[in-house]
């Protein structure tokens, strides 16, 4: 059709829009690609000028990929005398990599532990926020609660100042309560910050689910809780998934409280990564490797829940 259409964009509009989207995507992807590449460079290549951005080859702008950064990230190493090195030939490929700096691997680094802390605290607080948020949102959406509007506003108001503004009181409180540097403490803290977002987001999702579904379930012989569990929850999957992603992203990336409240036991990855200092300068490849690994869980989680973000379920069975 060559004639003008109101609903169908013209091919020129489509082309323009497509170019714009691709351009934007490329620009936002550059830092991520740069970090991923740096993770596979040697320390010298990472800071060379002009920058090296091509893999393989021997031009000025290309580098040979190496796992040095990842090895350095996951291990602690010490420099040894030539006699010692000669007496102990390298056993693994990782040993070989560190040998070029006359070093030997003496054990794992703290990164694995810190990463695991991030997983426990991030997913733990996400689960708790979404769980409590869903229950609260359902209650606010369906039941007559005295002062419901005021309560909702109060919940929202907890987000009106930056959480870090209360860092000192929380620090003192946590020390008194013995929650400093514990997983539970960090989970509670991130849940506290996220819960208002979770309640508000989920309430609007649950408000959008017609009450007839639950009433039908009540009539069909289910209890209120069963109706909630079997009928409302599947309908709210979209909302729960997007809320979970928002909560996880916050808890996963949070830096300030993690620096302040955790030191050894419950330290998460964000405060740990910058502490990876190499010998004679910042070990950029190791830091980049840490960042790359750190990015993966949120990315995977988002991709897994992507299906729910697009409103997959047909909301057509109740006619409006």
């Amino acid at each position: 059709m060559s004639s003008f259409s109101v609903t169908e964009p013209s091919s020129r509009t489509k082309w323009f829009a497509g170019t714009l989207v691709v351009l934007y995507a490329v620009i936002t992807m550059i830092p991520l690609v740069w970090i991923a590449l740096t993770g596979f460079k040697s320390p010298a290549d990472a800071i060379s000028y002009p920058p090296k951005y091509l893999i393989g080859g021997d031009s000025d702008t290309s580098f040979t990929p190496t796992l040095e950064g990842y090895v350095n990230l996951f291990t602690t190493r010490t420099r040894q005398t030539p006699e010692f090195l000669d007496a102990n030939p390298p056993e693994t490929w990782a040993d070989e990599i560190v040998r070029q700096y006359d070093m030997v691997i003496v054990g794992p680094s703290k990164f694995g532990e810190r990463f695991l802390n991030s997983v426990i605290i991030g997913f733990g607080s996400t689960f708790l926020s979404v769980f409590l948020g869903t229950l609260a949102a359902y209650a606010f959406s369906r039941f007559k609660i005295p002062l419901a509007d005021d309560l909702l506003f109060f919940i929202l108001s907890t987000r009106m100042m930056p959480p870090i503004a209360v860092a000192i009181p929380i620090f003192l409180m946590y020390r008194q309560l013995g929650l400093s540097d514990t997983h539970l403490g960090m989970i509670l803290l991130y849940t506290g910050v996220n819960i208002s977002l979770a309640v508000w987001l989920l309430k609007s999702f649950i408000d959008g689910i017609p009450t007839e579904y639950e009433e039908a379930a009540l009539i069909d012989g289910y209890t209120r809780f069963q109706a909630f569990y079997k009928v409302v929850l599947p309908q709210a999957a979209t909302g729960i998934a997007s809320t979970a992603i928002f909560c996880l992203i916050f808890a996963w990336n949070e830096y300030a409280f993690a620096v302040l409240l955790t030191t050894a036991n419950a330290q998460t990855a964000p405060p740990f990564i910058p502490t990876i200092i190499g010998v004679g300068g910042l070990d950029w490849p190791a830091i980049a490797a840490g960042v790359t690994i750190f990015l993966l869980p949120v990315m995977i989680f988002t991709i897994l829940l992507r299906k729910h973000l697009l409103r997959g379920i047909t909301f057509g069975a109740v006619r409006k």
Partner: protein, 364 residues
């Protein structure tokens, strides 16, 4: 199958009274219509019977057992929602089997029951389809299937045809009525469509402003309205009211109105004051001989009949007359009324005055 007795049922939402002291009885196997304009409390009444709302006071007896405060799952009453409320995350089969699964019925038995219901409703070929893509009629059938599959004591239907296209409504109405006749289950049906109520119901309750105005068979409601509201709500065009001030003697079968003398059904209660002379358009005839005059304002052609609007001394009157009879705007014609069908109303209270015609249906 069951008889439902509603006794002094009342529902208040805060300061707002949705249903005020209603009482009526739904006999076993009846197709019972709750009719009224929107906001009159009919849906609230239905929801109270089903257990989706708890009454403020009053009783609901299901086969003699008081159920007004029980949760819905302990009542054995099915409900068909206006918007169908099919579970969108399940296919047709799962939707229909859901009430059986909740009872813990063995899987083979569930399958057999669903197949039987699907056959009754003619939806066997869509059992494995998701409910999202179904047509309005099929959704309606699935919703019915979900209700009948568990063989409940009674069915509640909240304007089940309201979401369908006009053309399809009639068809579904027939189907519903046929289904009811086949199963003989007590059915309570809410509608604001008086035609639907007349067409389908064995009995009708007319509600207005949280109050039951009248309760009876469609014929009783149509021919012997208990209040001016019922008279004007039922029938299209609605009943004519000729307003006048006059008096009615005991056992009088004639009455003076606006300078003329008219026959009426023999009175059972004397009255003096502002009255309305109620007569349906089809009981008005136009003839030059009659003394009561009116001027033709408009005519509305309806095929075999036409509706003629006339201006009289007592207000506007509509007459349904054969299309063949000439009537032109501007003409002055005489009106006469079929005396057996007249209902007189107390205009102050809107209540019908008791007469030979309606004494059998007026209570209290």
């Amino acid at each position: 199958m069951a008889q439902i007795v509603i006794r002094n049922l009342k529902k208040e939402f805060g300061a707002f009274t949705a249903v005020r002291e209603s009482s009526f009885t739904i006999e076993d196997g009846e197709f019972f219509m709750l009719l009224g304009p929107s906001g009159c409390g009919k849906t609230t009444t239905l929801r109270m019977i089903a257990g989706l709302e708890l009454p403020t006071s009053g009783e609901i007896l299901l086969d003699g057992e008081e159920i007004s405060q029980l949760p819905p799952r302990e009542r054995d009453i099915a409900f068909v929602f206006q918007m169908f409320a099919l579970y969108p995350h399940m296919n047709v089969r799962k939707n229909i089997s859901y009430p059986l699964v909740s009872q813990g019925m063995p899987r083979a038995q569930v399958k057999a029951k669903v197949a039987e219901v699907a056959q009754i409703l003619g939806i066997e070929d869509i059992l494995d389809r998701p409910v999202g893509g179904l047509s309005g009629g099929d959704r309606q059938r699935v919703a019915l299937g979900r209700a009948i599959v568990r063989e409940p004591k009674a069915f509640m239907m909240d304007e089940p045809l309201g979401a369908l296209d006009a053309e399809f409504r009639e068809h579904m109405a027939d189907e519903l009525r046929a289904l009811h006749d086949r199963m003989g289950a007590t059915t309570v049906y809410v509608t604001h469509d008086q035609l639907e109520a007349m067409q389908m119901g064995d009995k009708i309750v007319v509600m207005n402003n949280a109050v039951v105005e009248q309760f009876g068979t469609p014929q009783e409601i149509y021919d012997k309205p208990a209040t001016m509201f019922v008279a004007s709500f039922i029938g299209s065009p609605s009943m004519n009211f000729v307003n006048f001030h006059g008096q009615l003697g005991p056992n009088a079968s004639e009455l003076d109105m606006l300078g003329g003398r008219f026959s009426v059904p023999q009175s059972r209660e004397p009255f003096e004051g502002d009255m309305a002379f109620g007569v349906r358009p089809e009981h008005v005839t136009l003839s030059d001989a009659a003394g009561f005059r009116g001027e033709v304002l408009a005519t509305e052609y309806l095929g075999t009949t036409q509706i003629v609007t006339l201006q009289t001394a007592g207000g506007e009157v509509k007459a349904r007359i054969p299309s063949s009879q000439p009537a032109k705007p501007g003409e002055s014609v005489g009106l006469s009324f079929d005396p057996k069908t007249v209902t007189l109303f107390d205009r102050q209270s809107g209540r019908a005055l008791k007469s030979e015609l309606n004494e059998s249906v007026l209570h209290g």
